[in-house]
């Protein structure tokens, strides 16, 4: 079990409002190195906003955020955030690949231009990462030629190409057809098993339960409850958590993870926790 002694991410009493509308009302959250932490909660509860604060895309009005040793709340200006963003990967719901670049170039452009990797090294790394997400056969294709699940796997490989210490996933399977959800979750599951630190916003409850070291339940901009996956999913302490889980797990349409995924990857991992 990864330790929380040296947290990679620490939020302390983070407050954020859009104009007069408070969206985050005192968020406390800790992610240890090597942990997978899931944030669940109803739509509009502030989950994406939390992730966007972590890389300084949004600025909280109050509170402290430390990410990979950087005091994010003390950074000012675009340029000051660049070292942080090099170390924190972000995978989006809508993939957001660069449509004018081939899959391979999507994976090499930032390592070359930002990290200064030589072209050959960037290319070799990209091919290795594409193999990892089982997309090596599409290296020459363009994003527009790929299915949603394929694009999302490329987007994960693109984030990995920056060699991040932490990856943030924001509802990365929500835009996918049900039959493609599994292939993307498999890739994320493998990453967490390899010890990559991940923060996931997800509606895939079974998946979150299977891979998470910690699960946070948010509603209306506050953390209602957090704990181990086992604790939060099986013995939620708050009535609101119970109601949400009943709703989320009770809908047949939400149980989109193929059983093969649960059997192949999650059960052994689950037992070892």
């Amino acid at each position: 079990m990864p330790s929380t002694d040296t947290p990679l991410v620490r939020l302390r009493d983070v407050h954020l409002a859009f104009g007069a509308t408070p969206v985050l009302k005192g968020i406390d959250l800790t992610v240890g190195k090597g942990q997978a932490v899931s944030i669940i909660g109803p739509s509009g509860s502030g989950k994406s906003t939390i992730l966007r604060c972590l890389t300084g895309l949004l600025k909280p009005q109050r509170g402290e955020l430390t990410v990979a040793g950087t005091a994010v709340h003390q950074l000012h200006g675009e340029a000051a955030h660049r070292p942080l963003r090099q170390r924190v990967g972000f995978v989006f719901q809508q993939y957001n690949l660069f449509p004018h670049l081939s899959v391979l170039d999507n994976l090499t452009v930032a390592p070359r231009k930002v990290l200064g990797l030589p072209a050959r090294e960037a290319r070799e790394q990209a091919l290795a990462l594409l193999a990892k997400v089982r997309m090596q056969h599409k290296a020459a294709a363009f994003p527009g030629e790929l299915s949603g699940g394929q694009q999302q796997r490329v987007a994960i490989a693109r984030a990995l190409a920056m060699r991040p210490e932490l990856i943030l996933f924001d509802e990365v399977t929500s835009a996918l057809d049900p039959e493609m959800v599994g292939e993307v979750l498999n890739v994320i599951g493998e990453l967490t098993e390899e010890g990559m630190t991940c923060v996931l916003v997800t509606h895939e409850m079974r998946f979150a339960e299977g891979i998470s070291d910690q699960v946070y339940f948010t509603e209306h901009g506050v953390i209602v409850e957090h704990g181990s996956a086992e604790q939060l999913f099986n013995h939620p302490g708050e009535a609101r958590t119970q109601a949400f889980l009943q709703h989320a797990l009770g809908q047949p349409g939400r149980r989109r993870i193929p059983d093969t995924y649960v059997l192949r990857n999650l059960s052994p991992y689950h037992l070892s926790v």
């Binding site: 890389t55 895309l57 675009e78 340029a79 660049r82 070292p83 963003r85 090099q86 924190v88 990967g89 972000f90 989006f92 809508q94 957001n96 690949l97 660069f98 449509p99 004018h100 452009v109 930032a110 231009k113 930002v114 294709a141 363009f142 994003p143 527009g144 030629e145 790929l146 693109r158 984030a159 920056m162």
Partner: protein, 244 residues
């Protein structure tokens, strides 16, 4: 070459068109010279207008009013006044003031004035096309570039501009075809372009119809060439599967 020309001149003579002046060395030289000057004008003004357009477009989308507002004012004034009047204004007023100030050291030839005026005029049109292209790039795509730690200039060069160029390309090609035709205003200030050379020939030889046919064919061919280059670029820059 010469034989083919002879045969051609003979053939159209049947339609009452007299192209025998083409065998006159002087007429032919001035026509070829004019055609080359027009080509040079097109090339210089095309590059100049694209550079101006890019600069103006960047200023137009800038969040800083000190950049955006003068650019907007320039684009609006330039787009809404006749190019020929702008050329007269530049050549007769600015050029005169410049000559008064620096004497014979004035570096601007009439050719240069035409290039400058057309570059600025067409640059204003390019700027609008590019602005639309820059703004059509989804914010989420730019955010993805930001989260890969691109600096603002890198994000512009590797992501926003390549996409904006693709969105704006059909409009830019349209503007460039128009630019080719616009170079004919050079004749108004006696730059020896193909139009001016033709006017010189028909005033002497009284062969307006023959010269008109030749002139229209020349501009038409140039326009088609620009169009073909545009099509080729569009095919090359196509993003497979995008927007489907």
């Amino acid at each position: 070459m010469n034989e083919a020309l002879h045969a051609l001149v003979q053939a159209v003579a049947g339609w009452g068109l007299d192209y025998r002046f083409l065998f006159d060395a002087y007429s032919r030289a001035s026509l070829v010279d004019g055609a080359l000057t027009t080509l040079a004008l097109c090339l210089c003004a095309a590059l100049g207008s694209l550079a101006v357009g890019l600069g103006l477009a960047c200023a137009l989308v800038s969040p800083r009013p000190v950049l955006a507002m003068p650019a907007r004012a320039f684009v609006d004034v330039t787009r809404n006044t006749p190019t020929l009047v702008q050329l007269y204004c530049a050549f007769l007023v600015l050029n005169m003031l410049l000559t008064q100030a620096v004497g014979t050291g004035n570096p601007f030839t009439p050719f240069a004035w035409v290039v400058i005026v057309i570059s600025l005029h067409k640059g204003a049109f390019h700027a609008e096309a590019l602005r639309a292209g820059l703004q059509a790039v989804p914010a989420t795509t730019l955010e993805a570039a930001g989260s890969l730690a691109f600096s603002a200039p890198q994000r512009f060069i590797y992501v926003q501009l390549p996409l904006a160029l693709r969105f704006a390309l059909p409009a830019l090609v349209n503007n460039l075809i128009d630019l080719v035709k616009m170079t004919a205003i050079a004749s108004a200030i006696a730059v020896n372009d193909v139009t001016y050379a033709s006017i010189m020939i028909w005033t002497q030889s009284d062969n307006v119809i023959e010269m008109m046919v030749l002139l229209l064919a020349f501009y038409g061919a140039l326009g088609l060439l620009v169009n073909a280059i545009g099509r080729w670029l569009e095919a090359r820059l196509r993003m497979p599967g995008y927007g489907q």
